[in-house]
Amino acid sequence: MRKGQGNVIIATIFAALFLAFVLPLATHLYTSYTANIKTPYSQALADVVIQVAQRASEQVLAIYNESNTVLYILNYRGKPLDIERLIVTVSCIEGVRVASLKPQEVSIPSGQQKALNLSQAVALVLQGCTKPNTTAFYIVTQQGTVIPAEVISLRIVQELQTEAGTGFLTRVGGGEKIVTALPIPIKSADQLWNISLLQAKGFTIATLDSMTSPAILTPDSTLVSSSGMRSAGFSWRLVRVTSGSITVNIGTVYNLWFGYDPRDTSKYNIMFTTTGYSPCSSTTLSKVKIYGFRSSLTQGVLQISNKWVKEPSQDVANYTFKNTNLYLTGTADRIEIYCRDGSGEVSYNPYTMLMNTVRSEGFAGLLFTTIDRSYRASLSSVPDGDTSRLDYSSKPFALVYNYSISSKQYTAVAIAVNYRFHDAEGLDADGVKSDLPIMLVGLAYRDGNVFRVYSYRSFTFRELTRYEDTYPPTAQAQSAVVFIPLPQGVDREFYVFIAFQDPYNYVQSGSYYYDCVDFTLYVENLSILPFR
């Protein structure tokens, strides 16, 4: 071996070792460091996000009709709706059941409407359930989305039967059943304080284009959130919402309306007006709404004019124009305080209350009042003491009951309405120059996104004021049956609606004021009797 060869061999072995071990490892290390952490993109997650967004924009419409156990699903979200299961909560006397149903049909293509008959599955769930009441319904999709379905419950109050023993067939050509739209069924979990609750009870909240010559009902949910009521001066402003213990001990309560809490008739719903109720400033007109009030004293619910009141009066005007002291103490589920210092248009919420004047748990009537302070006795004054306290409707409040009456199936409809009316116009009919409609009851049919009025009966101020006494306050029970024959030879679905408004602001003529009515309207019952 020549000198130098050994060094070459050593260098070669070194190079070989280096190339074999170190270099590959070093390059691997380098590439490992430079490779970023992979962020997986999940198509499925994107689906969920999109579905949540779509649910918000209501691209899947689901309605469960409790009376025929059919689930209607309209899918217009651009891709199929894959149903994994249906979750339904049913309230029975025995307790609440949460059930899981497997529908027979599981995929609904986009753009299609399907009616899933669940009678067999529901029958199994309802075994041993007394007085079942579907409280909620959900569609769970394979993607994990939960879509709530509207539940429509129609309560058949009474089926007219053949009179036993007499041989008279009372049903021949007569009414088949009575469908009660009002009072509305109330569950213990319902949030009574917002009348948007009516939407969950089978009603569409809408407004009428005109009360004097109504033609079109347009769905308008802003009536329960931001619009519909105006005032000549300040408007009602919700300033505080609390719950828990409450004590009211005030020297002057102007008006008080009170009824049972329909969720629990051992509690009461109370609304009253006064001045300077904290946190309103000392001279500001105030309105307090108390829901679910339970007195901590045994003498009665509340004390007015130093007299204990033990239960609500059926006459809703009984505690109007009191101008006396009020005392109550106890606990409440919700207390809302309104100050009359806001501006602009407000919703119907400050003016309405869901309550019941008779002890019938689970059912609520609708009270609407624009009375704030006092009545008037002469043309030179105004009700509520000041024109700034006169409220009026900028948009009528209409409720369309989503119970369809087919002209193919029925020949006529009778609509029965029971109500009470009381106004602050001491001169009654003489206090107004124009006789305007306060309430309308009628039938409408769907036309695209709106309803067209088919026929109606209007209740104007002069008619309503005949049966009330402003002072001493008395709101007599009034009722009407509106009979409307349906057009024959036309296949059309009709819906019953009721609309009301306070049409009167004021008109000044010299030193006299006209058309400045504020009033209370309480709708106890609205029943539908379709005739075959």
Partner: protein, 217 residues
């Protein structure tokens, strides 16, 4: 000693040195890569799990104070769910969480029979310091996360980690499982906020992947 002998000796010594150095470098690089890989794998796993597991509210039954929820794995795997449930400022025990077993349900009414809703098993009682959360680009302890989010939960008391069995392990479904796991949590009345924490297990450590919040009032 001859010159050739010394060269041979030097060669052997150099080769030996090269081998020692090579082995040392291999083990150094190997361990660096292993720990780095672990980290990459952890981040990948967490990333996958965050977008893979979710909770959705079905309904709240206020008459019996039961909250019905669903759990879903989007990858369709059969891995069970690790959850912890906090109501307001308290963690609730695993016995309060039950999962729906459709196989044992004979009447479609959920959780009214002996076996259709087994209680979630307790996986362990973990201290908030032993749970980890990928948060703001790094891994922090659960205690710090709870403090940062201002949940009002105790940062010292132990957290019951419950196992909700994936419905795929209850029902024999071939292939990937696309079903939702329904579970129900019994909560004290008057509860305001319920939080469901979902965890994933990695190298025997639990990492938070999702928080689902339900406001009841």
């Amino acid at each position: 000693m001859k010159k050739a002998q010394s060269e041979l000796l030097a060669t052997v010594a150099l080769i030996g040195l090269a081998l020692v150095m090579g082995v040392a470098i291999i083990s150094l690089v190997g361990s660096t890569i292993a720990s780095y890989r672990d980290q990459v794998l952890l981040m990948n796993t967490l990333n996958t799990e965050v977008s893979n597991t979710f909770v959705n509210l079905i309904t709240y039954d206020n008459t019996s104070n039961r909250l019905w929820l669903l759990l879903k794995r989007l990858d369709g795997s059969r891995i069970d769910f690790f959850i912890a449930v906090a109501v307001d400022s308290q963690y609730i025990p695993c016995s309060n969480a039950r999962y729906y077993n459709p196989v044992k349900d004979t009447d479609s009414v959920m959780c009214n029979e002996a076996e259709d809703c087994p209680a979630a098993q307790q996986f362990k009682l973990a201290s908030p310091g032993s749970l980890y959360v990928p948060y703001e680009g790094s891994i922090v302890s659960f205690a710090d996360f709870v403090r940062a989010r201002n949940y009002g939960l105790s940062t010292t008391s132990s957290i019951p980690i419950c196992i909700v069995k994936n419905v795929c392990n209850l029902v024999s479904i071939p292939g990937l499982c696309a079903n939702n796991t329904i579970f129900v949590v019994s909560i004290p009345s008057g509860a305001r906020v319920v939080r469901i924490f979902t965890f994933t297990l990695f190298n025997n450590n639990l990492y938070l992947v999702n928080v689902y919040e339900v406001r009841l009032s």
